[in-house]
Amino acid sequence: MELTTERTSKHMELKIDRVSKQYRNKIAVDRLSATLHTGVTGLLGANGAGKTTLMRMICGVLTPTSGEITYNGMPVSEERYRSVLGYLPQEFGCYPEFSGRDFLLYFAALKGMPRNEAEIRSEELLETVGLADVSKKRVRTYSGGMKQRLGIAQALLNRPQVLILDEPTAGLDPMERVRFRELIGEIGKSSIVLLSTHIVSDVEHIADHILMMKDGELLWQGEWKESDGSLEEFYLREFRE
C-alpha cells in the first residue's frame, strides 16, 4: 500500500523566517527561524511553549504577527500550498452525524479530490488506521483513540508533501503508538513531517531533526543520533537551565 507521496526525489524546503505571534500582552512565538527538509522533524516543548501556535501558522490557519513562512518559496497563505498540506490539530472534533467514511470523503472533497479517487484513498486509509470495520458507524460512537486515528487518516488523504501533526499520539494505546510511529517514519521518507509532542520517546527513534521550544523561542535545533546519548536526558537538562 502506498502511503507516501510520489515526489520522493524532489528537494523540498519549508522555511520559517523570523516568525512571531503576539496575542495582546503575550508573545506566543518569538522571532523563530528554522528550515525543514524531507524527513521527520520532532518539535519538543512543554505545554504552553508555543508549539501549537507555530504549527497553526505553518498551516496557514493563523497569520504571523511578523516574519514569513514559505514552502519551496511559496508563502503558506497561498491556495496552492494547501493542496500539499496535511494537518492534524491537537484538539479536534468530528461531525457526530457523519460516519467515519463520510468524514474522510467530506475532507477529501475539501482537499479537492475527485470522488472516485477519494473513495479509494479513504478505504486504504481506513484500513491503515484500523477503522475499516467501523467505517460506516457514526463518529459519535467512536472512542477517543478511534477519533484520533480518524484524524490521522484525514491528514494523510491528499498524500501531503508537508504533514503537520500536533500531538498526534494523544489518546492512542501503546500498540497503536508503535504502529503510528512506523507509519510516520515511512511517510517521512518522501515528505516533510513536523511532529509536535511533549513525550520524548515519540520522536526519539523516528525524528531526523529535533526542534526544542520554550516560552515561544527556539531553544535548540539539530540532528540527534543514538551516539549522542539519551534525548530525554538532554531535553530535561536544557529545560531546567
Binding site: 494547501r82 479536534f92 475532507f107 475539501l110 479537492g112
Partner: protein, 389 residues
C-alpha cells in the same frame, strides 16, 4: 471546470446533510409544520365550512353589485340581528356583514376624529364608498404621503370598478392568513437550524481542519451559504404547504378570482386574489432567503450558534412588538418591510411608496427588492468575514 463543479456538488451534499441531519432540524420542522397543519385542520374540523354551508351562502350573493339594493338587504338583516355583528353564519349576508364590519372597524381604530361618525353612517352605497374614500385619505395623511404619492394611489383607485361586485372569497382569505404565521415560524426554524452553519465548525472543533484545506479556505463559505439557502427554501416550502393544505383540501382554489379589495378592504391594488397570492408567495420565498442569509451572517460574525440564534429571536420579538411612528420617515417605512409585517398586513395596507431612479415601488415590491439586496449584501459580508477566519 467540470471537476471543480463535481467537488462543489459533493461538498454541497455534505453541507446539506450537516444541516438536515442536525439533531434539531427534523424535530423542529416536524413540530412547526404540525402546528400549522393542526391549527388549520382544527378550524375546519370543529367548524367545517361544508357543515355550515358557507359556500352556498357566500355563493348566494355571487356576482351581485355592492350597491344600494344589496346594502339595504344587509341593513334589514342587521336590524333583525341587532347589528352587523349579530348576523350569524347561517345568513347569506354573513360574509358581506363581516366585510363591512372590517372596514368600519378600521375606521374606528385609526382616526379619533372620525370615530363618532362611523356608527352613524347609513348602509348605502354612497356612504360605504365615501367611507372607503375618507379612510384612504386618512391613511395617506397618517403615513405622511407626499402629494405625488397620494396622486399615484388615487390613479390606482380610479382603476378599481365601483360598485364592487361581490365574489365569494372565503378560501382565498383563509390562504392569505397562512403567510404571516408561516413566516414567523420560519424565523424560529432558521434561527435554530442555520445558526450552526459556520459557527458549528468551531462548536465541533473542526475549524482548524477545515481552514487548512484548499476548498475550506477558498469556496466553502459559498457552498455553506447555498446549502443554508436551500434549507431555507425547503423549510419555507414545508411550512407553507403545511399551512395551506387544510385550506386547499377544504376550499380548493375557491375565491381565487375575487378582487383583492374584498380580502384587504383598504387596498387599491386592482388585482385578483390569485394574482396577489402569487405575489405573496414570491415575497414569502424572498423573505425566507433573507432571513436565512441573516442567520448565517450572524453565525460567521459571532462564530457562536447560540449568539446567532439569539440575535434572530431578539429580532423576531422586536418585529412583533416594536412600533415606529410614521413621522420617522424612511426608518419607519423600512421597519415595516420585514417579511412577517409585510405578509401579515390585513385590512390596512401600508401605502408608503419607494421611489428609486424614477421607479415607483409599492411596499410588496420594495420588500422584495430590499430582501434581494440584503441577501446579496449578507453573502458578500459572509465571504469577507469567512476569509478573515
Amino acid at each position: 471546470m467540470e471537476a471543480r463543479v463535481a467537488i462543489y456538488v459533493e461538498l454541497l451534499r455534505f453541507e446539506l446533510r450537516k444541516i438536515f441531519r442536525g439533531r434539531i432540524a427534523i424535530p423542529a420542522l416536524a413540530v412547526s409544520a404540525g402546528m400549522l397543519l393542526g391549527i388549520a385542520l382544527i378550524n375546519y374540523l370543529v367548524i367545517s365550512p361544508y357543515d355550515r354551508g358557507v359556500y352556498e351562502r357566500e355563493a348566494a350573493l355571487e356576482g351581485r353589485a355592492l350597491d344600494d339594493a344589496l346594502l339595504a338587504e344587509l341593513a334589514a338583516e342587521a336590524e333583525e340581528a341587532g347589528g352587523l355583528s349579530g348576523i350569524g353564519p347561517d345568513s347569506p349576508y354573513y360574509h358581506l356583514a363581516g366585510y363591512i364590519s372590517r372596514m368600519q372597524g378600521t375606521y374606528l381604530t385609526i382616526g379619533e376624529g372620525l370615530e363618532s361618525e362611523a356608527g352613524n353612517r347609513e348602509l348605502t352605497a354612497a356612504s360605504v364608498y365615501q367611507m372607503r374614500e375618507d379612510l384612504l385619505e386618512y391613511i395617506y395623511d397618517y403615513f405622511r404621503l407626499s402629494d405625488a404619492d397620494k396622486q399615484w394611489w388615487k390613479e390606482k383607485e380610479a382603476l378599481i370598478e365601483k360598485p364592487f361586485v361581490w365574489r365569494a372569497n372565503f378560501g382565498a382569505y383563509s390562504m392569505k392568513s397562512v403567510f404571516g404565521a408561516a413566516m414567523n415560524l420560519f424565523c424560529m426554524i432558521a434561527a435554530v437550524c442555520l445558526a450552526g452553519v459556520y459557527a458549528g465548525e468551531k462548536g465541533y472543533r473542526t475549524d482548524s481542519f477545515v481552514l487548512s484545506t484548499r476548498e475550506g479556505k477558498r469556496s466553502l463559505w459559498l457552498v455553506k451559504f447555498i446549502a443554508g439557502e436551500i434549507f431555507a427554501l425547503a423549510a419555507g416550502t414545508l411550512l407553507l404547504i403545511a399551512g395551506m393544505v387544510p385550506h386547499l383540501l377544504f376550499n380548493g382554489l375557491h375565491g381565487i378570482n375575487a378582487p383583492w379589495q374584498l380580502i384587504v378592504p383598504l387596498c387599491a391594488y386592482s388585482y385578483t386574489a390569485g394574482q396577489m397570492l402569487a405575489r405573496y408567495v414570491l415575497t414569502y420565498y424572498l423573505g425566507c432567503l433573507v432571513i436565512g442569509a441573516m442567520v448565517m451572517l450572524f453565525s460567521v460574525l459571532f462564530m457562536n450558534s447560540m449568539a446567532a440564534a439569539g440575535m434572530i429571536c431578539i429580532g423576531l420579538v422586536l418585529d412583533l412588538f416594536l412600533s415606529l411612528p410614521p413621522h420617522l420617515g424612511l426608518l419607519s417605512q423600512l421597519r415595516y418591510l420585514t417579511p412577517a409585517q409585510v405578509l401579515i398586513n390585513s385590512s390596512m395596507a401600508d401605502p408608503r411608496l419607494l421611489r428609486i431612479f424614477g421607479l415607483v415601488l409599492t411596499p410588496l415590491q420594495s420588500a422584495r427588492l430590499v430582501y434581494l439586496i440584503l441577501t446579496v449584501a449578507a453573502a458578500a459580508t459572509v465571504r469577507s468575514l469567512y476569509r478573515r477566519l
